[in-house]
Each structure stands twice: as C-alpha cells, then as structure tokens.
Amino acid sequence: MRVDGLAAIGAVTDLRFACGQVAVSSGRLDCRAGRLSGRFGEAGRQQTPVSLSVLGDDRWRVELPALKLAGGDVSLRIESQHGGWRATAGFAAVDPGRLGAIPMFADLLPDWLTLQGRSEGSVEATGTGTELDSARLQGSFAALSFTDESGAIAGEGLALEADAAFTWRSRTGDWQVDARLVAREGQAYFEPVFLDLGAHPAKVEFTGILAGNAASLAVAHYRLEQQDVGAVEGRATLDLEGETLLREGTLQLHDIAVAGALPIYVAPFLVGTEFSDLQGLGRLRGEVGVAEGLPNRIAIELEDVTLDSITGAIGIEGLAGRFTWFDERLRNALAPDSDSAIFKSRLSWRSARLWGLAFGPVEIPFTTTGNHFRLLDPVLIPLFDGGLAIQTLRIRHAGDPAMYLRFDAELRPISVGQLTRALGWPEFSGTIAGRIPRLELADGLVTLGGNIEAQAFDGTVTIRNLRLRDPLGEFPQLFADIDVERLDLAQVTSTFEFGMITGRLSGRIAGLETFDWMPVAFDARFYSTPGDRSPRRIDQRAVSNLSSIGGGSGGGVAAALQGGFLQFFDSFRYDRLGLSCRLENDVCHMDGVARADAGYYIVKGSGLPRIDVIGSQRQVAWSRLVRQLAAIGASPGPVIE
C-alpha cells in the first residue's frame, strides 16, 4: 500500500494498521490495542501501538505512543472536534539536526547551519483543518552544536532550556511570539564574539510579532541577561533573512560590569589595534540606538571605570561622566530642534597613563559625531609638576586612511628629573616646556609641525622633525633631530657621575631613529661651545672615563694618572673637547675634535701639565659602548690619594 500527498513527511509505504480490539457502542467506535507500522518517508520506519477513538459527529482521538523521530522517541496524541484539533507530543533524545531531512521541519531550520544535539520536551499545538493556530514548545537541548560553513557562527556543547509560544493572529496574518531561552553550558561564537555560557550563563526573554512569512520579527520588548556582565533590554526589529540581523532597535544597558563586558563584547572588535588587550573595571549604564543595521546613537554614563592595556602603553583610572555619540545623519536631523547639550560629552578621570607618563585629574568636554571628535574647551591635564594645556584637539575620519588629527598644546614647565625618572632614564636637571604645535597623524605616522624646546643643564635642547610610527604599538619607532646648545658641562657630568668637567657643550644628534625606544641610528656630534669663555677644566675621573670611551683602557689611564706627578693635580685645563658617533648597523663610528697621530683628540689639553685624551678606536660596537657608559655611571672612579 502506498499513500501519496502526505508531503509533510514524504511518501508513506508499507502501511499496516490493525486493531486488537474493536468496540462499537452508541455512535462511538474504539480501536484498542492496535498496531501501526510502515515506512513514513524521511521519518523512517515506524512501529507503534495505536489507540483510536471516534466519538461520533466529527470527534475523534488518536494516540501513537511510540514513534521514532530523528534518533529519538516521540509520543503523539491528537484530538479533533468540529474541524479543530489539538496535538500534544512528548519527545526525548531527538536530534534536531536530523529533523532538517524531514520536509515538514525543513523550513524551520536554516539550511546553512549544521546542527547536532539531543532534545527532550513537549510540543502542544492547536489548529483548524490544515492550519496551525497555536503552538508551544517547552523543552531542553543538551550537547547542542552548530556551525556554518565558514566557522563565523558556531556553538559547541550547549545546554539550552526553551519555552516558546506561537499564536496565530488571523486578522493581521502573523504570529504572536512569547519566548524564553536560558543557556547554561557550552560555548558559542558569533564572529568575533565568543560566549562561554558555562562561565557566564545567559537568559533572554522576548515578546514580539513574527511575520507570516517568517522574514522578520518585531520584538516589542526583550530582556537579555548575562552573569557577570549585566542586563540589556529594549525593543528590536530583526531581519531573519537579510545580512544584518538587528535592523533597528534600542539597547538599554542596565548596570553593565565593564570587567565582564569588555573582554566579551568589546575587545574582540579591537583585535589588530593597539587596544586589543584592554582590560577594565567599573560600571556603566545608558542606551544605544540602532537604525538600518548600525548604531546611530550612544548615551552612556560611566561610573569609576578603569581601562588598562596589559602591555602598558595606556591606562585610565577613575573614568566617570557622560559620553554621547551620534551618527552624523541623526545629529543633523536632531540639531535644529534640540538643546545642543544633548550632543555634549563630559568625562573626567582621576589619573591617566601614557607610556610612563602619569597625568593627573582632569575633566574633558567634547563632542563625538560619526568618526569625528572635537574638544569643546581648552583643558589643562596635570603632568608631574607642570601640565599639558590642550587648546585644540580635533580628529576627523578616525580609523580611515584619511584620518586627520589636529592637536595644539602647550607644555607647562615640567621638571626634567621627574620626566626622565618616569621613563627610566638617567635623571636630568632642568625643565621642559614649550608649545607642541600641530601634531598630526596620517598613514600611521605622528608628525609634529614644529619644534619642542627644553631647558636643561642651563642650556637648550631643541627637538626637531619629531615623528612617531606606531606610538602605541608593540614596536614604536621614533625619528627626530636634536640640537643641544650651551649645556653646562658641570651639571651634565655631575648628573651622570662622569667625573667633573666645566665649560659649555653644544652639538647635534641628527637622524635619530629608535626602534622599541632603543637608538638604532643617529649621527651625533658634541663639542665645546665655540666662543664660550667660561673656565674649561676636566678632572682625573672624567679623563679616565673619556679615554675608556675612546678605546683606551680606563684602568690603565687611571693608573698612569696616579702613578706619576700627575697624581698631584685634581684637574686640568683643556682647550676644547668633542666626540662624535655615527651609529649605523650597531656600530658607532667615532671621531673627536681633531686628528691626532694615532687617532683623534677627544680632549685637547692646554697649559701645564697638559693632558690630551686621544681616541684610538674608530669603530665600536654599540652594545659595548652602552655597556661602557653604564659602567661609568656605576663605577666609583679612580681613587685619588
């Protein structure tokens, strides 16, 4: 026997039906202890007890307690009365992934998803004729896995509990849906967001209207909760067929824990940027609006938020206040009728850190629209004993190759000592101050449109052509030319514990290039300031240190100085001194102030007793030179007896 036309299952063949016991009484027919068997299309071979009752006028009831479906067991009971019917099914160990092969379920499961798992629960449905009027699914899914072809969407070992009710609304031709879904175990990935639902269980509830053709879902209200993250609620229009799921909606953020939300929902979007390892603390609340698939409005209040990058380039502590953002279209639409205050953000922090520099508390008023940022009023950010006064900060097209940044600021005097200590350099004396004019960022290169001038060691240091590549990246690069003028050598040498030299020093470091903050190339030249008439003297320790740089043995020189009559002199007069080093490929090519017989003069002495320091090595490995310089700072120097 073959029955066609049951398209919902497929062709049914080999159908056998038998009643063990038939009872007929006053318009009622009961078939008890019956058996039904056959091959039911894709639903496969079935063999189940059956009981059937026909209760007269258009009323009947059938029970099929042992059906097999998608690897599991299903018991089905259908009652019909006056054309309407009610079906109740209990199911256990059903693999939802295998339902897709059965025509009546194929439409319910997306065909681009490979699905697998175990489910149990019940379905209750009512209908009229061939039409479904309502359905309710209560069930649980275990060991649920799914993936699409590219791996952009995937789940593994998920445990879900679902309770969903669908009610047909014939007047509008759509479905009222009320659903609740709890996920407690397993992992899911919606590129780039990874959810560990075992560690952070999640719950979603919503009520909405599903279009008759199931193309869209208008969610009147939803509430999403995730442990350790917080809760989000709002309304949403979901496009179930297009590219963008969330077409339009609102997200009200309730008391979101930054520590939980940042790594799950923000950090994955920052992969490949300098901020991908950002961690945070604190809380925030607010609202996000979405239109045409993209956020168009953000208004959040932050409460004592800390952001910190593990690699340590940046960090902010105690961030608080209000942040608003509008996309340009919405802003332009709202601007004519709105108080401009709604576009303004105002954030403050207790402290902030960039590299080793610690900035003090400040409140920053600004607007962000689209990918543009503008500082509304000048601010003064405390930095050590001075500060950074920012007059202009404007960023346009952030994130685009066409990104434009304009930054005008002034450095209020800062003691160089604090600055160098923070950066882990030897402590200098003096102050640094001056304008930081026209800082621009383009093609990943930060360029300064002017010079930075610093007062140090009673002279001036001018940094020209400063450029930074990847300033917050793993391997920052710095390029600059530095001029030094009239440094007081007495201060320099005492700072670096180099001995004592008096006089003035000028010079230039041209083409300085650092990689990961270590110099890799420069052409440096330092010499006694021409025309300077201050006394020029150099002590024994400085002589021996300088000669060790020039390739002599510092110890040998020290011994020579102390051995003869020279030991009676603490210091010597000199005519001029100078040293140059062109660093290239790890080698420092050295020279002095003048040619000497066997090398070059580093110090040309004058008067009696006369001491010349003559360098012999023209090429010194940079690493060796750095070691020598470090040793000089640490050594006690020759002992004068």
Partner: protein, 197 residues
C-alpha cells in the same frame, strides 16, 4: 624536441633579463638568501626532504630559472652577490618576535586553519579548524604576525637605504615563505586559490 624548446626559452630569457635588470637593480638573489635566513630563524631549521626541490618543474619555472641564470651572467658577480643587510636591531627584534609567535601559530598552520597568502602575509583559511575558544586568539595572532611582517619588509628596505624595494622584498618573501612551508600547510597561489603543499 623538448630540450630544444627549453634552450630557446632560456635564450629569450637571457635577452629579456639583460634589458630589465640593468634598469631595475633589485638584488633578487641576495634578497632570497636574506629571506631564507630570516624564515629559518622564524620557523626553525627545516626537516629533511621537506623543502621543495630547487629543480625547476613547470615551463614557467624553467623560464624563471633561465632568467635567473642569465642574470648571474650579465650582472657582474660583485653586484649580483651584494648582500642585503638584514642584521639591524629592528630586523632582529621583529624576527625574534615572529619566532616566539611561531610557537603558537605552528599548530594552526598544521591544522590548515591559517595559510600563507600570495602577498607575504598570513590569513585565517578555515576558522572551523580552530576550537571556538581559540578563534579570537588566532585572529589576534594573525593580526600581530601581519603587523610584524609588514614592518619587516619596510625595515629591510629602509636598512638597505632603498625604501622603494619594500614591494620587491615582500614579493621575494612571499615566494620564500611558500617555498619553505612544511608539507601539509596551505598557501594561496597567484590566483588567490588555496593550495595544500
């Protein structure tokens, strides 16, 4: 007959190479040598029999090899053998950074999750070959590796005072990464198709 054809192609190659190389002096042989050295540092020394045979296989490679042979003849040995400087601190730091990252990346090359692209970078080829919890870590590894590779090509060009060589260096590296890739790894051919080695 086949041998005669090869000879003819080789001659054509010689004439061509003679014209081209004088105008554009990019030390390709030296760049290959430099690339191989860096790749060995990053990936570790190769196991036996894993490197692709240096004998030409297809006609296109015959032509290439012929042209390269011709180049050695035409260009004075001193020029053609000019070493590319790859021992600057920047190149060393980048190489070390890539080498330490390779410890994490290797299993994803092996699994076919990550492959070598035709422009000297790497790409996620099959996210399904990566456990869910590791997918973002792999995205980060790939982004970091590509950042280092871009910087490496730029730095080698800069270290040799020829910033304009960056693209040639990238191309040389792209070929050498693929040539030195382990059997079973995936790479993109010139048409952008994934091929398993």
């Amino acid at each position: 007959m086949m041998r005669w054809m090869t000879a003819a192609i080789a001659t054509a190659g010689l004439v061509l190479a003679a014209c081209v190389t004088i105008n554009v002096y990019f030390p390709e042989a030296a760049a290959e040598k430099a690339a191989d050295r860096i790749i060995e540092d990053v990936w570790g020394p190769e196991g036996k029999g894993q490197e692709q045979s240096s004998l030409p296989r297809g006609p296109a490679e015959v032509l290439l090899a012929a042209a390269r042979g011709a180049l050695d003849l035409v260009i004075p040995a001193a020029n053609a053998q000019a070493d590319l400087n790859v021992s600057t601190p920047a190149v060393r730091k980048l190489t070390a950074s890539m080498e330490s990252r390779h410890g994490q990346l290797a299993k994803y090359y092996d699994a076919g999750a990550v492959g070598l692209t035709a422009n000297g970078l790497i790409e996620i080829r099959d996210a399904n070959a990566v456990p869910l919890a590791e997918r973002n870590a792999v995205r980060q590894l790939v982004a970091d590796e590509n950042g280092d590779r871009d910087a490496l090509y730029r730095e080698i060009a800069a270290a040799n005072s020829h910033a304009e060589w960056e693209n040639d260096i990238r191309k040389t590296f792209a070929e050498r990464w693929i040539a030195k890739a382990r059997a079973g790894w995936w790479y993109q051919d010139a048409a952008g198709r994934w091929v398993q080695k």
